[in-house]
């Protein structure tokens, strides 16, 4: 048998042809399926392969003050980003870019650290590049195929430091924020700029807007080849604008007059509707620093600063209310009917008051003698209020103060607000200090000391109620909000009148705050407070200085309520009261069309020259030559 007989060869060849036909047939069918039967799906896939959506950031809503002045808006900015890649080539590209822009070695290391952490995300080399740098890089586009220049609206805060705590600031959303319920709506994505604190955070959903989309064609390495013209660009929608009750001029004035070396806060409210005219905290920071990503250096400085510039003292700070609280004790006493306005306390003030086996001091060791309510407020006589407190009684004082709302938040439209601390019942002492309270606890409480801490905002709301009919809405920053009265003191009109009488005594000749609060056009009614705290009791620091009050035309309704606290300010009437008066004066002058002046109070006048005419005319007999 011949293995390679022609017949055998032909037979074998036939099987081989069959195999060729079979295999090539399989291939042809596979290509037919893919290219003819299913080509639509794959065409779509090919497009989505190379078409990328590029978000167009929506400009945030503009923030206006009550006079229509812009407080925060946007300016066009350019961000320079770098597509992720191997660390070595990123480093090389950054080095190469540093010929045209400033990139420190530290910055390069920061970016590489970011790359290691979030490998897929573009690196923001400069979130706010100058036009010079942008054009330098644009000219060399071929040298930097992975560099992407993106138009980004850029937040601008006009007030700078003046309104920092109030407005807050914006920054890129963090992964924690993305996961949190605050940003739960699916409109948020990595890389978006969101409000971090203050108004920016509170009204994030209004201000944010809807970001647009454009479509670009990219290659496999994500390098942008060009726009994809077939799909329409969605320009997005800018955020809604927001109108605030804030009077920006007033806010800036407060920033101007507040002593920079001291820490503290000022709140100004409109008695008509509880609108917040100014909300200031010192020391501050410039929110513009945060806009394009705050540098590590500045951030660390702000966080390590002992004075805590990021802390919003106006709504977060808790201080013993001190003598500003006496009005609360007085109001409760009047309402309970345990005193009448004209009644004098049986024990005259001799500089101290004996209760139990202890002696309780009055701030004035010389004593105030016999006082009625208005005189006691004017003199801030502790001995009067010790006795009033005892008449009200510990339980009633705890219950009524709590009912009024001193241990509740005001509900201001800011993301953070501290809750006041005031014992609701006797158990508080057992929980906090481990002993049952004696009746004597009412003595310090009735003069605003003891376990009582309030935010400046809460005290402002209290004085707002006093300036009105005893009720006060929540102080609010945003305008045109219908607010229910959140706070009611339940005081008869004549009782309010007598409290005002007391507040007027404070600023009248002979009152504790007369010289610092005497103004040419306006009558100030208010109460100073000098808050003892742990450090001051140990003699290590000055007490905090309060002044809470209202001002308006003589004999008319108050036009503004202002509360000032100055940490370690030593004296309420000496340090805080002039700030309050100058704040009120600035606002009221503009309200009434009177030119503003920086020399405002009696003190201001006599510091630079003679006693002003208006003061002489008002008090022709003089006030004993005191200045």
């Amino acid at each position: 048998m011949n293995l390679y007989h022609p017949h055998a060869r032909r037979q074998r060849a036939r099987s081989v042809y069959l195999i060729i036909g079979l295999l090539m047939g399989i291939l042809t069918v596979a290509f037919f399926r893919l290219q003819v039967l299913r080509s639509d799906t794959w065409e779509l896939r090919a497009e989505s392969n190379r078409i990328r959506q590029l978000p167009i950031p929506a400009p945030r809503g503009t923030i206006y003050d009550r006079n229509g002045q812009i407080i925060a808006d946007n300016v066009p900015g350019y961000a320079i980003t770098l597509l992720p890649g191997p660390p070595d080539s990123i480093r090389a590209t950054l080095k190469q870019m540093s010929q045209y822009m400033e990139i420190s070695d530290a910055r390069i290391e920061d970016l590489l650290a970011f790359l290691r952490r979030y490998g897929q995300q573009p690196l923001v080399v400069d979130a706010d590049a100058s036009f010079r740098v942008v054009s330098a890089l644009q000219e060399r586009r071929t040298e930097f195929p992975t560099v992407h220049i993106e138009m980004r609206p850029h937040r601008r805060y006009f007030g700078g430091e003046a309104a920092a705590h109030l407005l807050g600031y914006v920054g890129e959303i963090t992964s924690e924020e993305l996961a949190s319920s605050d940003f739960a709506q699916n409109r948020y994505e990595q890389g978006m700029v969101v409000g971090k604190t203050g108004i920016e955070k509170q009204y994030e959903s209004i201000l944010q807007g809807r970001r647009g989309l454009k479509y670009v064609e990219v290659d496999a390495r994500g390098r942008i080849i060009g726009d994809f013209a077939a799909l329409r660009v969605d320009p997005g929608e800018g955020g809604e604008s927001l109108h605030l009750n804030i009077d920006m001029e007033l806010q800036e004035w407060i920033h101007h007059i507040f002593p920079k070396s001291l820490s503290g806060a000022v709140i100004a409210l409109d008695p008509a509707d509880g609108g917040v005219l100014a909300l200031y905290s010192n020391p501050g920071y410039d929110p513009n620093d945060f806009v394009s990503g705050i540098s590590t250096q500045v951030w660390n400085d702000l966080n390590n600063d002992e004075r805590k510039p990021l802390f919003n003292r106006a709504v977060m700070g808790l201080y013993p209310p001190a003598s500003t609280w006496k009005l609360a004790t007085a109001g409760i006493g009047l309402d309970l009917g345990v005193i009448t306005p004209d009644e004098e306390m049986p024990v005259p003030c001799t500089g101290s008051y004996a209760f139990g086996n202890r002696s309780y001091r009055c701030w004035n060791p010389d004593g105030h003698g016999f006082n009625n309510l208005a005189e006691a407020i004017g003199n801030s006589c502790d001995v009067y209020f010790y006795q009033l407190g005892l008449r009200v009684g510990l339980d009633a004082l705890l219950r009524r103060s709590t009912d009024i709302g001193f241990s509740r938040k005001c509900g201001i439209d800011l993301p953070q607000e501290s809750q006041g601390i005031f014992p609701a019942e006797r158990e508080f002492w057992e929980r906090q200090f481990g002993y049952a309270p004696r009746e004597g606890e009412v003595l310090p409480l009735s003069i605003g000391q003891g376990p009582n801490s309030q935010t400046p905002l809460k005290i402002a709301q209290f004085y707002l109620a006093l300036a009105r009919d005893g009720s006060a809405p929540s102080p609010f920053l945003a305008r045109d909000l219908e607010l229910e009265d959140a706070w009611a003191l339940d005081l008869a009109p004549e009782h309010i009148m007598s409290l005002h009488e007391g507040l007027r005594n404070v600023t009248s000749p002979g009152g504790t705050a007369h010289f610092g609060t005497s103004l040419e056009y306006w009558e100030v009614r208010g109460k100073s407070g000098t808050a003892e705290h742990g450090l001051s009791q140990a003699g290590l620091a000055e007490p905090h200085a309060w002044f809470a009050g209202m001002a308006g035309p003589f004999g008319g309704a108050p036009g503004i309520v202002v509360v000032v606290i100055v940490e370690y300010g030593e004296s309420g009437s000496g340090t805080a009261a002039p700030i309050m008066a100058k704040t009120a004066d600035h606002y009221l002058r503009r309200q009434h069309g009177i030119p503003v002046d920086s020399v405002q109070t009696y003190l201001d006048h006599v510091r630079i020259g003679p006693v002003p005419t208006w003061y002489r005319e008002r008090y022709p007999t003089g006030v004993g030559g005191i200045r």
Partner: protein, 411 residues
């Protein structure tokens, strides 16, 4: 004219068909270089390929004139030489391009070549020489031992590189030549069965069933194999099933992934599945008539992997559509059929066996390369003859062609 042409190139039909495919390949390599962001690798590759083509033509003209006796004679030394080269790749071999981990290249200065290409031709020649001297068909496992060793030796060295694609080509050579030498199909299937056992062993139950069927078949087989053969085949299957797990674990992760994504490319769309998905996207979006020569977006935007070498046929699919791919498959079918018909016509056993060896190698290359672009076979780094970019590969393909037409037309 035709007579003169026949005198010069012996088989104008086949040579012109291959020439056409080679020009087509160079055009596609040119197109592969047309991308939005040019790179040094694909840019100008077609010119380098053209240079190699000129060299290949010269070598072809020379080889076509070598007497068949010489070719027969050179089989042994060239086999020994290529085994030596293959072994040395394991020590001094380097990778190339994306297959940097594969030690299949030998570099001398700027010149590099793959010894496995030479080994394929040498193995074909030596196996043809051995088989052509037999007067009886190989009818037992013992008969198959020597041919299997002959191919198995270079095959094992190639697997160690590791270059699975070329190893498959050796398999194709062995089976095609054994079949042409009259080996019973049933015997071929039995040698192939351990590979089937290897694959099926991923599931113990399926594998056990398979072994039972195999044993039953051997017992009932009307070919009535000898006891020795039956036992050997069963043992080989058992061994394959046993070593499969350690063998799998020995595979490099990229090789494991290639097999896994063959089953489902979407398991790893960014990693191992990426090449297959992008290739299918390119081919599929080509549609019936294609995006137009050099105009394929997938290729232009650089989504296609290895677009001038292993995935050149994806470019064909994207730019020339089904018309292009069908014609391409048809052209290769023609070349393959022509090789077999030449073997049918030549009375010389050696010539027929050499033709079938070359056929086996090319069929494997064509089927695996084209098949992997659409997911019919797993992705293995195996080039498309005469089309894929690669100097030594093109040259050795033309040398094979020269040997094919030489032996077929020996008078």
């Amino acid at each position: 004219m035709r007579r003169r042409l026949k005198k010069w190139i012996l088989d104008p039909t086949l040579v012109f068909a291959v020439l056409g495919v080679t020009f087509f390949g160079m055009a596609m390599i040119y197109s592969a270089g047309v991308v939005y962001i040019p790179n040094e690798v694909t840019q100008g590759a077609w010119i380098r390929q053209g240079m190699w083509f000129l060299l290949a033509i010269i070598v072809f003209m020379v080889v076509v004139r070598i007497p068949v006796r010489w070719i027969e004679w050179i089989a042994v030394p060239s086999y020994a030489f290529s085994i030596l080269l293959l072994a040395s790749t394991l020590v001094v071999g380097t990778g190339a391009g994306t297959a940097a981990g594969v030690k299949s290249w030998i570099r001398i200065g700027s010149f590099g070549f793959q010894p496995s290409e030479i080994a394929k031709v040498a193995t074909i020649l030596l196996l043809a020489r051995f088989l052509s001297q037999r007067k009886e068909p190989l009818s037992s496992v013992q008969d198959l031992l020597f041919p299997a060793l002959l191919v198995g030796f270079p095959l094992a060295l190639v697997v160690l590189q590791p270059d699975l694609g070329t190893a498959m080509a050796f398999g194709g050579i062995l089976f095609a030549m054994l079949y042409w030498a009259g080996t019973p199909v049933i015997l071929l299937l039995l040698i192939a069965s351990p590979f089937l056992g290897l694959i099926l062993s991923y599931d113990t139950i399926i594998w056990s069933g398979y072994i039972l069927v195999l044993v039953g078949f051997l017992y009932l087989s009307r070919y009535r194999l000898l006891l020795f053969e039956s036992v050997t085949v069963v043992l080989a299957n058992l061994a394959a099933g046993t070593v499969s797990r350690p063998l799998w674990n020995r595979l490099a992760p990229y090789q494991q992934n290639r097999i896994l994504v063959f089953l489902d490319p979407e398991v790893d769309p960014r990693g191992a599945g990426y090449q297959l998905i992008q290739s299918k996207v390119a081919v599929g979006s080509g549609g019936f008539t294609g995006q137009g020569f050099t105009l394929g977006p997938q290729k232009r935007y650089d989504f296609l992997p290895e677009q001038h070498t292993d995935f050149i046929f994806s470019v064909v699919g994207e730019e020339l559509g089904f018309v292009g791919t069908a014609l391409g498959i048809l052209a290769f079918s023609f070349i393959l059929v022509r090789l077999v018909s030449m073997a049918t016509r030549t009375p010389d056993p050696f010539a027929g066996l050499v033709l079938l060896g070359i056929f086996g190698a090319w069929l494997t290359h064509v089927f695996v390369n084209i098949g992997m672009t659409v997911g019919v076979v797993p992705i293995t780094g195996i080039p498309l003859p005469f089309v894929s970019y690669g100097g030594t590969f093109l040259l050795m393909c033309w040398v094979s062609l020269a040997i094919a037409v030489r032996v077929a037309h020996e008078r």
